[in-house]
Symmetry: C2
Subunit: 264 residues, 2 copies
């Protein structure tokens, strides 16, 4: 069956069992996907404040209390196994990647689930727009920029963006459509000249894969949930676990909401 039509639970099961190991762009396309940042409880206030101060890159879908691994937004799910790939940070550096975080998990980890821009790609496709990294079956390209996030405690650093190329005539519609989804990064933060963000070479992304940018196309940039990984390095935390860029949790939430808390 076409993996874009899987239910959220089917997608999580395929990831948990190792049937699906790659990036999650296009997977179970009706559902919002989430980035992960799990930090020890003593750093949770500062990280939550970092999210509050940087809402474009860190739109929170859910905060899972320490000691819990099943999010409300993913019934029957498990934060330790339901991402295809994780990054482990130790002593302020990236220590490695794993496919199963269960052996490393700690009871004092507070988990932050941040909306992912893969979630607005189905509406773009439905509007007849091409999403290049889906066409080319690659991970989305992501870049560190010279735009600085707003600091919270030890968390600070560059805004990280994802990029999708479009024709100039499509940019307004792309902005309008993605702007309807603020919980998964919303409208672009920049259109055009990569140098204005300090990006010198689109063919060499800092995370993910390069995609083709055709003559006459302009790069369009969105705030990205990998931004906290740059902030984690700056904060030099003793321990943290994140998703690997592009390798997300598929939540039960419909891309366009409603989201928990919308009525309170």
């Amino acid at each position: 069956m076409d993996a874009s039509r899987w239910s959220a639970a089917e997608a999580r099961r395929a990831i948990r069992t190792g049937e699906w190991t790659g990036p999650t762009a296009g997977l179970a396309a009706a559902h919002a996907q989430a980035n992960l940042v799990a930090v020890p409880r003593e750093h949770a206030f500062d990280f939550l404040l970092f999210c509050q101060r940087n809402p474009r890159s860190c739109p929170l879908l859910e905060v899972v209390d320490a000691g819990r691994v099943e999010p409300e937004c993913a019934a029957g799910g498990d934060l330790r196994t339901d991402f295809p790939r994780y990054r482990v940070f130790q002593d302020g550096a990236l220590a490695g990647e794993v496919e199963d975080a269960a052996p490393l998990w700690r009871d004092d980890l507070v988990s932050f689930l941040i909306g992912c821009s893969f979630s607005f790609e189905a509406p773009l496709l439905a509007a007849g727009l091409e999403v290049r990294h889906l066409t080319e079956r690659r991970n989305v390209p992501m870049y560190r920029t010279v735009r600085l996030t707003r600091r919270a405690g030890p968390f600070r650093g560059p805004l990280v963006v994802s990029m999708r190329p479009f024709r100039p005539a499509e940019v307004a519609r792309v902005s309008e459509i993605t702007g309807r989804y603020p919980r998964v990064h919303g409208a672009p933060v920049h259109v055009g000249d990569p140098a204005a963000l300090g990006i010198s070479d689109l063919s060499r992304p800092d995370y993910g894969d390069a995609v083709t940018v055709r003559d006459g196309e302009v790069p369009v940039f969105w705030a990205c949930g990998v931004t906290p990984q740059a902030a984690l390095l700056a904060a030099r935390l003793p321990f943290a676990i994140t998703h690997a860029p592009g390798h997300m949790l598929v939540t039960d939430l419909p891309c366009s909401g409603p989201f928990p808390g919308d009525d309170v």
Copy 2:
């Protein structure tokens, strides 16, 4: 001079000097107003999480770190003096109200500034709609409801709503206009029958003043920044300071943004 046309700094000065002591509805109408919740640092994570989980009632404009009293959103301002009236909570109960919080302020207080629905009243007036409590020169009526907030640590309790009556033919337009301002509570959370929210008598609000509801008008309800005051009682904190309902900080922020962090 018409106080609705004051600059934000003029409004804060008038409040600080005691020239203005009443509710702030209609004051410096071009600027977003803010509710205050200041809690000791040890409770700041749980309260910040309460705001994240209840974004309609607690849309954060800014979190001011412990030890600071000048918000970024109110240049030259002082959280201890620039609200017309404060409430002081001690040992889990409301201990009293003061006009100057400076003598009570503590260096360990983290201050949360939450958007206020007074901020979208100018756009309603500009659209030719009547805002009843402005017409009647009263504070807006506010009610505790039976709708429960989403718990975070010790913070829990009922959603508190503000109410403005409109004619049925106006409700869609009122919803559309206020929906453009999510950082100051956005669209209504309920239209019509107060009993559905557990409100038995509109003429007896729990906070603020009753206003006239004319024959044929329907009450329209918005999530309200007084909601945290009900949660503070439930949490039984040893100490906290809030604004008095209806007595806000006038910020420098334009009502419709941009807001700090919109680009990161």
